[in-house]
Amino acid sequence: MSLKESSEAIFSESPGKIALRSLRKDKRARISLAILGVIVFLSLTAPLYSHFIAHTDPFESTLDATIMVNGITTPVLEASTTGLGLGITPIGPTWNLSHYFIGADSQGRDVLARLFYGGRSTLFIGVSSGLLCLLLSLLIGIISGYYRGWVDAIFSRVLDIIWAFPVYLLAISLSVVLLTSGLSLGFIHLGPGSFALPIFIIGVVYVPYIARPIRAQVLALRENDFVRAAVGSGAKNSTIIFREILPNIIPSLMVFIPIIVALSMLTESALSFLSIGVQPPAASWGTIINDGLGLLYTRPMVGIAPGILIAFTAASLNLYGDAVRDALDPKSRARGD
């Protein structure tokens, strides 16, 4: 949703070098990049953590494991012994990095290790679908804006359809197809648990949000004197697009990148929350939230921790997006703040 606002900033053109310089100086940019750096680092080194520090396989159910806590052998999943003896509760946070730092889930798996692994899925899906979305939007935006006429009319209707189409239906149906029989598109075969599906769905869903402002920008550029001159001199369309149009759109794309990645991440977690994103036993922050909801009353940390990570990451990306926008938008500097 935050895309709508940044579409405002897009119409301004801006010289890149000044922008980069001011971005480097921007405190927001530095802080957000630092946070993102830590999160990416922890995600990338997830196998190291689970292998060398926690000594656990976060994808294997260990329902009857035991650990030593303060010299006492404690089962990871403990059956209730009070009252009627109903229910099994996973071990809570031990605050000890070598095992179950923030506790176990109902399969007896180390939640912290799963969070680091989950970061990989979430970030990977977020970044890939964000880039896919930008690519598609760029293509559609430039083609409709440049060629106009019936090409534009067709693309506009397609965007209208995507805009109003129920994402969840698409996601649920496709995930049933994918889970049960796999999906074969020509020579590409997607097996169950493939990340391609969430990436594709999220990538497509937000195309209208970005393609429309890009199209509007291209339409405006098309009327510019330098483009008219190029068309008049008989230059090839592709040359004009690559030489004159594209360079003028790149800055706006730069503004979109962090925001669309943040949005894709949030969407990924929402899809996983509805059990239609990443499939078990793989983890993403959304699936861990989903797992945690079944433990909300006994072990709330399992559901709360991944939400905090999502919020942190998304906030850093949005903060960085703001910094980029201000750096690229000369008017915001002119505002004198």
């Binding site: 949703m1 405002e8 197809v177 029989s181 977690s269 505002r335």
Partner: protein, 322 residues
Amino acid sequence: MLAFVTRRISAMIFVLVSISILVFLIFFATPGVDPAARIAGRNADQETLAQVRHSFELDKPLPIRYLSMMRHLFVSQDLTSYVNRGAKVIPQLTQAIPATLSLVIGAAIIWLGLGIFFGIKAASSRRKWIDPTIGFLGIIGISLPVYWLGEVVNLFTQAKLHNSVFRWVPQLGYVGITDNPFQWFLHLLFPWLTLAVLYAGIYVRVLRNEIRMVMSEDYIKTERAKGASETRILYKHATRMSLITLVSLFGLDFGSLVGGYALLTEVVFGIQGVGRLTYQSLQNFDLPVIMATVMYASFFVVFMNALVDVLYAVLDPRVRRV
């Protein structure tokens, strides 16, 4: 102008028809969704299964099934569910609308209030810390996953602190405003706040940037040079100009939320609105209900979209050519 409006309406119908066909095709392309066996009941005889399939016209070719479904939905308006046999779909939808409207209108009041107040504050305050602080809160608002926030709110209001601070919070669900206005308010308070957090974040940011942008325009500088007071400039010019953007943004958001995009909030708080109905029908693979809710939602989205386009066309004649 008339030609433009006609074109916009026909485009709207085209989009709605396309969506309905897509939904229909996607549904029947999904493996295992054939409702016949689920309707017929466990271990039903093959003959019974065939009869059920026949009575739901599931043995007819797809195009005929599609047309028949559209006729029942729009012409005779007696489309019935695949799951709750005999339950008419349209009343289910109309009954869900008040809950969604209550949720969305209440949340909208909160987010518009917060958005406008803090947006103006952030853009105008002379104190140095205010703008970044509001900006930071805005970022937090747009970065929290709404379903997660809802569950955490539930954790505290329904469980952890339910016996102390939040004793007054009723159980999850929805009570009609005509049944009991006070309970209606209590049931919706936390859903409103949760839904409003995201949008308040967006609106604060948009408004703040818009006002700053207008304030740097040349005519404002002229006004300032003429000696107009800052307050006058802020409210008479900057805020008024910026609100136009906000209104069009609001149109789109409101349209999609009334159409059921508050699905996650409704699901988390157990509000029996359009979003939850959509969610349930998706869970049940109940095509008639899916179709009705999807048509309803897309209508709102497409309609608000068109409305905003037309408004822009009124303001800016150049758009009409496009």
